[in-house]
């Protein structure tokens, strides 16, 4: 029993070892190590002061010291992100579905969706402040709107790219619109929908932080500004590190869900 467990661990370790020794993993890894070492020893050697650019070890030390504060603010940020992001994904998907189902809606709305996607939503922030006040609601609004139109456009391309021959096939079995949706559109759009979700994770998260820079009294964007004001550059970098890692994890989570959901035989979705 114990022995087989040990064997399993060994197999796992050797799998990880093989994965790491692959060129596509090993080369970027080497690059990372080189950059970090160069940064750690090269930057001070050039006489760059720590408050301009702290070394990796200083950033790490600062993170260890500040992490309760960082985590606290990060939680606040994630809450705003979650609300804005879910509103985007659900709302964007449903609007795209409605536009695919009733072409009149598409005709009327599509030019505005495209136009709205091109507006730098962030410039609307002062208006949201007037309407929604200095706080959570304005930040959620920015996060939602900055990502919403990308979600609509991507989902709609998903529905539009559906193979009409499959729709016809379902209809030949007396399938109505609901049957067609549940058997065809729901799946055929998934690769595009996930491409949209992946874009929206980044946009919605960035939106929250941008909002917090401007109106936040809490949250990680606000925290960066606080550190900035007190010249705690190392803590600022530690916070940026935390943001980067969080965003990578969120993105990775979406990719993992996509792999699980969009997999039919070798027809695994090929999307960005």
């Amino acid at each position: 029993m114990e022995e087989s467990k040990q064997q399993a661990v060994q197999v796992r370790l050797s799998n990880i070892y093989t994965a790491l020794s692959r060129r596509t993993v090993a080369l970027p890894g080497v690059m990372f190590v080189v950059v970090v070492i160069g940064w750690e020893f090269g930057i001070p050697a050039l006489g760059v002061e720590s408050y301009i650019l702290p070394t990796p070890s200083e950033i790490l030390a600062s993170f260890v010291e500040e992490y309760p504060t960082i985590i606290e603010h990060l939680q606040y940020t994630l809450k705003a992100f979650a609300v804005g992001f879910v509103m985007t994904v659900v709302g964007g998907y449903l609007l795209a579905l409605a536009m695919a189902e009733w072409s009149i809606l598409e005709t009327v709305l599509y030019p505005y969706v495209i136009a709205a996607r091109s507006i730098p939503i962030i410039t609307l922030l002062p208006i949201f402040i007037v309407w929604l006040g200095f706080g959570f609601s304005s930040i959620v609004a920015i996060s939602h709107l900055i990502s919403f139109f990308a979600m609509v456009v991507n989902s709609l391309s998903g529905f539009k790219s559906t193979d009409e021959e499959l729709v016809e096939m379902v209809q030949s079995f007396s399938g109505n619109r609901r049957d067609v949706f549940w058997n065809v559109y729901l799946y055929s759009s998934l690769p595009y929908v996930f491409a949209g979700i992946k874009i929206c994770v980044i946009l919605a998260f960035t939106g929250v932080i941008a909002g917090e820079y401007l109106v936040g009294t809490e949250g990680i964007g606000h925290l960066i500004l606080q550190y900035n004001n007190s010249f705690a550059t190392d803590a600022m970098f530690a916070t940026i590190l935390a943001i980067s890692v969080t965003q990578l994890l969120l993105f990775g989570l979406v990719v993992a869900i996509e792999r699980k959901v969009v997999s039919w035989g070798d027809g695994v979705a090929q999307s960005v």
Partner: protein, 259 residues
């Protein structure tokens, strides 16, 4: 169960009103209940359009299609179609693909549907592949799924659009024979589109020849070959009746007649 089909004065054109492309021009024929009728014609002449019209999935310009249940105005549960290009849902397993047609029909529990689907998958020789996805199947297997999916809904009329056209000769031979056996036990009415003359003769009671651009029925041949035909294919294909029919069909289709 089976039902008759009559097509009367069917017309259909694609394209705009200003620039119409006439595809079907006054197509009329009758199929009696339980009959196996093959339709042969040149590529692009409108055979698929004709079957889709009968299946109720394309709008026709004029004319009437009447089955034993009355006029066809849209898709119905009594008619099922097997497509030229299989049309399986790539995101569903073999089992789910066959269940799909059953699920759409009302008054059937999921469990019942799955049971029926499993039986048909076995009947078409795909037992063991229930959980495979279409991308993992060969062409022949895909068309077996298409066949199981259509037969599972227990249609009175089965429309088959060049179902074996894209398969290799061996698989095609085997599936033709299996189809004859299925038809013998199920007694459905079958309309079978093909441009393979030998296939039409081996399978059908009657062969309709359809012309091109626009399509009308130009000839009709009775196939007087004794049934059941499976198990004596070589004998049938060497018979005088087969040879005679083949030559007449080739002539009608504008192909050279071999001596």
């Amino acid at each position: 169960m089976s039902q008759s089909v009559s097509v009367v004065g069917l017309r259909k054109s694609y394209g705009s009103d200003a620039d119409p492309l006439a595809v079907l021009e006054d197509v009329s024929f009758d199929v009696t209940a339980g009959e196996f009728v093959a339709i042969v014609g040149p590529s692009g002449c409108g055979k698929t359009t004709l079957l889709k019209s009968i299946a109720g999935i394309v709008d026709t310009d004029s004319g009437e299609i009447v089955t034993g249940q009355g006029p066809v105005t849209g898709p119905s549960d009594e008619i099922a179609m097997v497509f030229q290009d299989f049309r399986l849902l790539p995101w569903k397993t073999v089992l789910e693909n066959v269940v799909m047609g059953l699920d759409i029909q009302p008054d059937r529990s999921d469990r019942e549907a799955e049971g029926v689907a499993r039986e048909w998958i076995e009947t078409v020789g795909l037992a063991g592949s229930e959980q495979s996805y279409p991308s993992e199947l060969s062409g022949g297997m895909k068309q077996r799924v298409g066949l199981a999916r259509a037969l599972a809904v227990d249609p009175d009329i089965l429309l088959m659009d060049e179902p074996f056209g894209s398969l290799d000769a061996q698989t095609r031979d085997r599936l033709q024979t299996e189809l004859l056996q299925l038809w013998n036990s199920e007694q459905t009415t079958i309309l079978f589109v093909t441009h393979d003359i030998s296939e039409a003769i081996y399978l059908a009671d009657r062969i309709l020849v359809i012309s091109s651009k626009p399509a009308t029925i130009t000839a009709e041949f009775e196939v007087n070959l004794q049934r059941p035909r499976w198990g004596r294919r070589v004998e049938i294909e060497g018979s005088n009746e087969f040879e005679r029919l083949r030559n007449r069909l080739r002539k009608k289709l504008g192909l050279t007649v071999e001596r």
